[in-house]
């Protein structure tokens, strides 16, 4: 279940496929709350679905942290996906369309990146992967 870590951050553990749906629904609520339009909401939630599922498939699960951020007058939703999985050996390769280690279609990472405003990935083999995304309300 979601826990509030401080005033505007929320955290959820992704351990089962149903958690991905709970995660999507909550992030949709957050996006609606800041007045994000339906197309950007849909892009954001689709990216979240890809990244949350990746954590589940490749790392056996992980944590999702959501917060509302501001840049001048514009608001956005920032989401961090943290796992302690095997890490990604070759990030450049993983970011290519159609590249997969065999468990998916290879659309997850590059597709998610195209759907959000900001995308940052850090991974250490044997330690885990952290992906940070931001979707600006009008971005």
């Amino acid at each position: 279940m979601w826990t509030t870590t401080n005033q505007n951050k929320e955290q959820l553990s992704i351990l089962h496929d149903r958690d991905v749906i709970i995660c999507r629904n909550r992030i949709k609520e957050v996006a609606v709350k800041i007045g994000m339009g339906i197309v950007n909401q849909t892009k954001l939630i689709t990216a979240v679905s890809e990244l949350a599922r990746n954590m589940l498939i490749y790392a056996g699960g992980g944590n999702v942290i959501v917060e509302v951020v501001a840049r001048g007058r514009e608001q956005g939703v920032k989401i961090v996906f943290e796992d302690k999985g095997p890490g990604i050996q070759d990030i450049a390769k993983a970011m290519q369309d159609g590249f997969t280690t065999g468990k998916s279609m290879g659309m997850g990472l590059p597709g998610a990146k195209r759907l959000v405003s900001e995308f940052n990935i850090e991974s250490t083999v044997g330690k885990g992967t952290t992906i940070k995304i931001v979707k600006w309300k009008n971005g």
């Binding site: 089962h16 496929d17 149903r18 991905v20 749906i21 999507r24 629904n25 949709k28 339906i38 197309v39 909401q41 849909t42 892009k43 939630i45 689709t46 679905s49 890809e50 599922r53 369309d97 998916s104 279609m105 659309m107 997850g108 590059p110 597709g111 998610a112 195209r114 759907l115």
Partner: protein, 129 residues
Amino acid sequence: MERIPILKMGKFLLVTIQVDLYDRLALTLEEDLIQMVHKTGARGVLIDISALSIVDSFMGKIIGNIAAMSSILDAETVVVGMQPAVAITLIELGLPLSGVHTALNVERGMALLAARMPEETDSEDVDDD
């Protein structure tokens, strides 16, 4: 266990997805649908996704699988009712849903399927001739 109901309408099967599917449920639907195509000899499968708020790569793969498997069993698949925002997102995600017919709503989907098999109208009644 939860299941998505599959309705038989003449030669076609109709599936209306009313909830966002978690992965296990989507896989169960894929399996059930193929079994139903085989059992009923359906010539077409209509999947109504108007209530889905997103279609991600997993759901896209399931839809593609259903179309490919149905095709081997001589049935065509039409996906109907996709929300505009979902369509925009699918293209940006990089999922063209190739091999899957689409239609605006169930009515048009039915018409599309019927139009693709005109020579078979009434064939059910003339089997013994």
